[in-house]
């Protein structure tokens, strides 16, 4: 067994140092009834590297690879080109096989990276501070709602109808157990977001309003009136960004006075990976930092006066506060945060803004082309790299038919909102720098044929 260095003579020598006759003597505390007499039955034994690779490759081949077909899926996970050096660097053993930096003298690489990551994220989201990452965008969103409850000591959260339905589901699951009251709604296929509904719903009991930017249909709206309405009632505005590249082209939620901004960082550096691992982004105003969940890295000096970094404000966390912690979370998403940070460093201001505009202009061109397909119209007036089409028929079967033709056309609202008849004809289409004009033509032509 290639990963186990001990030889049988090593084992014998070690047993004799221990003073045990056999390995079974070391398992004496296991009750006899629970001891297995051999390997767990009905499972195969060990296999060579070649055999395992063949087996896994066969499974991989059963999937349609996004990069090999015209591909328009988004809705919370976006396909961007990741520079080759990102993956090379995160595979360095000193990053890949390190642990949480609890011994800062020999973990400055991870710590400095996290400090840089926090700064990049805070600047991108427009917040004063950001943490060292969360599991993903959906869990970060829920944690923000919990944080707003702790700060405002109120428990009614108003969720925009434009918030990703899976994020809403996660919040609903958790709220059942924490007693938070959630005001939720399904979106309508209009060009406008539900900002007016949200503003009207805020009352003295409201802890927070949660709004996605751009929203699940790709729409964008100025958050400032909403922030003002929240603050007038001592509620917090939480903005959710599932496509961070958008903030290369758009005014950030923090600049529009959102109190907490969370996001899914998968777009930068991480890749699609069938939904995980991803990286949750979490930023907020300075004054709320002690109510923030998750790890934080801070600057300090060492005994010789040299600058260095440590995990800090850890009294918020479960290993110290136990049942009074701000969150039960123990890990962050360190390696994905590293990938995000390296990609951001490669892009820089110039690269990210250029990438964002490339995405946007390609999406505008795609929207105009797809709107020419008979019966198809674009819901959005404003959007970044994702917009919603209405088809003359239910979108879900169309997506399946197009998949059979080797085109991954987008995410149907029927998949996201099963049972909502008013949304069934909606199709959310994402266009990034990886989408070619030819891809758009292929989709438009196939759509026209399928709808004819």
């Amino acid at each position: 067994m290639r990963y186990l260095p001990l030889t049988q003579s090593d084992r014998d020598a070690m047993l004799s140092v221990i003073g045990a006759a056999s390995i079974d003597d070391l398992f004496v505390d296991v009750p006899p009834a629970a001891r297995l007499d051999g390997p767990v039955h009905d499972l195969p034994n060990h296999a060579s590297e070649l055999a395992v690779e063949r087996h896994m490759t066969a499974l991989a081949r059963q999937n349609v690879v996004a990069g090999e077909v015209p591909f328009f899926l988004g809705a919370g996970a976006y396909r961007h080109h990741v520079p080759a050096s990102v993956d090379h660097l995160i595979q360095r053993g000193e990053f890949l096989t390190a642990y949480t930096p609890y011994q800062p003298e020999i973990a400055q690489g991870t710590l400095q990276m996290l400090f840089e990551f926090q700064t990049q994220v805070a600047r991108l989201l427009g917040t004063d501070v950001a943490n060292a990452s969360m599991y993903d965008g959906s869990t970060a969103c829920w944690e923000a709602i919990g944080m707003a409850r702790r700060i405002t000591k109120k428990a009614k959260a108003i969720l925009s109808s434009g918030l990703h339905p899976h994020y809403v589901s996660v919040a609903k699951t958790m709220a059942k157990y924490t007693g938070d009251l959630l005001d939720t709604a399904v979106p309508q296929l209009t060009a406008e977001t539900d900002l007016d509904r949200l503003i009207a719903a805020i009352d003295d009991e409201t802890s927070c309003v949660v709004v996605q930017y751009p929203d699940i249909l790709g729409r964008i709206a100025d958050l400032r009136p909403l922030a003002d309405a929240c603050h007038a009632k001592k509620a917090l505005l939480i903005a959710v960004v599932t496509e961070p590249v958008a903030l290369g082209a758009l005014t950030s939620p923090g600049e529009m006075d959102a109190d907490i901004v969370v996001g899914e960082g998968q777009s930068l550096g991480v890749g699609l990976q069938f939904g995980g691992p991803y990286v949750g982004l979490f930023g907020c105003k300075d004054k709320y930092v002690r109510q923030m969940p998750g790890r934080l890295c801070g600057e300090t000096v060492d005994a010789n006066g040299k600058r260095g970094f440590v995990l800090t404000l850890s009294t918020r966390e479960q290993h110290i506060r136990r049942e009074k912690a701000t969150s039960n979370i123990c890990t962050n998403s360190g390696l994905c945060a590293l990938a995000f940070s390296i990609h951001m460093t490669l892009l820089g201001e110039k690269g990210l803004r250029g990438l964002a505009m490339l995405n946007h202009r390609k999406a505008v061109a795609a929207a105009d082309r797809l709107a020419q397909v008979p019966g198809v119209s674009v819901v959005n007036t404003g959007f970044f790299n994702e917009f919603t089409l209405t088809l003359p028929v239910e979108a879900r079967p169309v997506v399946r038919t197009l998949a059979d033709r080797g085109i991954l056309a987008g995410v149907s609202l029927g998949r996201l909102y099963p049972g909502e008849a008013d949304l069934a004809n909606g199709l959310v289409v994402a266009v990034t720098e990886t989408t070619t004009g030819e891809d758009v033509e292929t989709l438009a032509a196939a759509l026209q044929e399928v709808l004819a």
Binding site: N45, Q103, E105, T173, A249, Q318, N328, I329, T331, E349
Partner: protein
Amino acid sequence: MSINQSGWRPAMTAAGDAAPSLTFTGNRALMLEEALIFEIGDSETTGVDLADTLVGEDRLAGLARATPIGLPGLSEPETVRHYTRLSRQNYAIDLGLFPLGSCTMKHNPRLNEKVARLPGFADVHPLAPVDTVQGALGVINELAVWLIKLTGMHGVAMSPKAGAHGELCGILCIKAALEKRGEGHRKVILVPESAHGTNPATAAFAGFTVEDIPATPDGRVDTDALKARLGPDVAAVMITNPNTCGLFERDLKAISDAVHAAGGYVYCDGANFNAIVGRVRPGDLGVDAMHINLHKTFSTPHGGGGPGSGPVVLSKALSPFGPLPFTARMADGHIQLIEEETAGDDHPDTFGRMTAFHGQMGMFTRALTYILSHGADGLKQVAEDAVLNANYVLRSLEDVLDAPFAGAGPCMHEALFSDANLADGFSTLDVAKGLIDEGFHPMTVYFPLVVHGAMLVEPTETESKAALDQFIGALRSVAERAKAGDPALKSAPHFAPRARLDETLAARKPVLVWKERPAA
């Protein structure tokens, strides 16, 4: 083998030696200082070449960014150098033995990395039509079957993102099951005082009241005290097995039977599953729910603090309440994805969704690759070698370090020591920092809380005897210095990229993001 076996070692610097002379750069040979990207990058530099942006109108609803983000950019060579230099300031499993107790820092096979990067896994969208992702769903399903069989349980929830998320999943299953029975009034969860902090944090989050259960002098749960506390208000007990002292909870089956008889459920923290994988099935001990840290037992890389992955195996009683989504293999071999839409008929009691998509797919591919490499026989050997290595460390050092439970019998996969024998004024922290100078990452310190100045050593099964002997020699040397009161230990580490860092300063005046400082 990179371990020096010739017996030669460099002379140690005498205590109190003057600091090495300064260099112009601040660097010292291979030890390179590295500035922050904000200090070396600028807003005009970029390490990517983009296609020309199309000419056209914008539809940004009047919200086009008006101000700079403030992101520094580096060219590709500068980027590679920056992160390579940073990486060299980290300790890692690839560099040496990483004896962090309860963290299971074992070798991370590179085949796992290669497989996870196959485009058929890495470049697949979570919302792609189910027919186009049968291989991805197949990985989830195949791993699920392994986890169920290895643990002797009934079902498994795959989506939890990490261990603590898995704990939450298990506790929410228990809560849902109680409510279904009309016993939502059971509000108390019993947690041994030696438990990891996530246990009480999770129970409290789910609305339970946490009560501590004391330990016996031999480091195990006080079964009598636990049984005496059972009653109609107790929802569950959360037990770690093997426990945080590195000992097997001999009475777990009896405890489970008593908890079940009293109408409660048993949650097992599976953080230490590595000690028993392939040799003991938690299902045989009456466990109702247990999370499995794929990043521990099944060797998905820790990555400097995540991502983790925490599937939860469930008993027959709790399986109906597990979260969405999950996979189901049909008779024709087609794998179905059960989500909100399809759960209504087959899975009406689910407590809901915990995360946006399907869980940590990239960790599933790695864990399955690892599991298939070992097979049932290899996993059994994993547990045996992990336990053998820990006992070897325990017996090799119990004469020099206090080992509070060593007299009671063998340990499992980790050896626990205390600070009882150290000289006055010398602490566990000093031993830990001394080990850094010896080229090792320290063991887990000050955990579990039930042992004063705890030092928890988990060598794992992927260490050779030669590596263990070198570590034992180093720890013995440091322990002897701590017992003798060597003052140089108080300021260790001396040879690391940084000396001890001022954590008080960091917490009093938190500096969490970089800000340009006015020129001096």
